[in-house]
Symmetry: D3
Subunit: 136 residues, 6 copies
């Protein structure tokens, strides 16, 4: 029996949407208030979904304490209370849109979770704007 | 990389469930309190999901401001603070169940969003009763 | 020891804001979309707060099952899946604003709950617009 | 047109994670605080999803009142305000992890819902830890 | 300037409502399903409110990290993943109703927080049933 | 009859906690991760409460559209998608803790709302950390 297991967590970060190849006017036109050069920020809510067989000995697909520790060490330690554009290596040359943040987090977690488990990442930038990525 | 992008919004509307080909007794039996001839209403929460490739120049699947404007103009302007049975053309001859409202909204939005983007509509009639339609 | 006890419940209703002594233009100017003559509606969330001494024998201020039954019988039976303007006696000559609905519900409940218990009613018309009345 | 219909409900239960074939030390190591021999508990939130064709006569995939009654009779009556390990037959020899509870509920409901309708069960053990099972 | 500061946290616990001086029938009549001798449980949400002057040097009424540590050490360590009736000293002879749990938590915290700060405790037993105590 | 009316809204901002009279070590010790010199951010949720008599002609304490416009013009235009430390005048010499932000917003709104109406501001920095100020 294959079950999806979800763990929701969060991090608070500053960011700015910006394309350095565009003029300031073009950046303002496309990214609007999100282009503010002094940054703004969000309480990001992150839901990590892991899909696989139930281990009949434990009754777990994955021990949620283990999953929580992986997320804490590899995502929250690097993203929480940070400025994504300045402090997080992956966004030095990548615009930190919700889409791109979700892909970056998925890539980080994919290498830490057993490959026979499927992985999906959902990221809420606000309660009304969110994205989901499953490696497709 | 293909990502799902979600935009949640809401509208407040009155409606009534009713099949004009049935007797009042049959309507009462099937639709219960929802058949009240003077209507009742809901705060509908609408989540529109768009799935497609990330544009590498913007980092967006779709600009959420653009998506928001499409929803506002084509759905909220016509549904918000309305009586669905009386004020909305599509329900003149269609029972405004949550299922049918979701299909109507999907059809409206499908014609306004690029065809290479997949579209799914989730509609909450109450926090505990909701539906989802993806054109299947 | 005096404790506040809260019970949250909900009802779905249609309504319309309207002052019959005004012109249609004045009604439209003041009440905007809420003046739609064919009504709109809401999922109202109702929180009833009762404040008083803990009964040392039961450990209750008030048995929440009893409070729930009072709310069901005297409020929900009369308000749920109704049109407030048409179906609820109290709004025949009273504009069903959130403020007035809260006062009406408070008056209904005040007569059903022991007078040594203090009563407050909070009513959410939407998750972002709400009111509270305590008999002051 | 095929639509998913969701009904969310809840039950409050005690449970304990435990593998009787392990030593107390091994149980403590794997299940941590969840192994407490005097039990702990949760407000479980249950979302039942039913997917199928809209009935053109009613506008329903399934009458949510019917679905609600099925869930009440076959799940809530047996799980709500219970100790899952002690009071619920299915967990006499099955560890009541969220994964296993979801599978048990899915099996119960599968036999009560028309086979042409697809069924998925989502179970929140806490707002941040949840699972989903669709019979796969 | 006096400001209220709130910290919300949670614990998962089993409990049973029971008055040992009553017959089983009387207990069943008053406490209903909550009297189940094998216990049931809840995800309790706890909101601690501290009211006092803003410290002009820090801009804090109380450092929320300090408040969080106090709640963790003195409440969560003792209540989380426990059976309140069996594992928590204060309920050996006190019925663990939401009202009594809130008073017990308030008394625990009152002795750990500076006396010039006012203290209020709100406890959600479920999202719809909750209580509040401020020492009155 | 006096009723409280609440309007909830939100803004997304970056900020940093810092006391320029302290050493970097002291700032790090007291403000921890919140002292990050490149900033972090939040989705702030703001609830404005206005308390006063119901106007018998409109049924309103205050027209929520008017209150919404006041909040938009005087708070959101200045705080949303901004860096509080850099972009908002009031925090040039004031540490933008949740407490201080609430006081600043209260002072802004107090001058825009009729003085016979009482005003309270609640500000959520995260869903679990929040503050409230009523001018006391």
């Amino acid at each position: 029996m294959k079950v999806s297991v979800f763990r929701q967590t969060h991090f608070n970060a500053a960011h700015r949407l910006h394309n350095p190849e565009w003029t300031p006017e073009k950046n303002k036109e496309i990214f609007g208030k999100c282009n503010n050069p002094s940054y703004h920020g969000h309480n990001y809510e992150l839901i990590v979904k892991v899909y696989g067989e139930i281990n009949p000995v434990t009754g777990f697909v994955i021990d949620l304490k283990v999953l929580k520790d992986i997320i804490n060490e590899h995502v929250l330690e690097r993203f929480d209370h940070k400025n994504l554009n300045i402090d997080v290596e992956e966004f030095k040359n990548l615009n930190p849109t919700a889409e791109n943040i979700a892909v970056v987090i998925w890539n980080i977690l994919r290498s830490k979770i057993d490959s026979h488990l499927e992985l999906t990442v959902r990221l809420y930038e606000t309660p009304r704007n969110f994205v989901e990525y499953d490696g497709a």
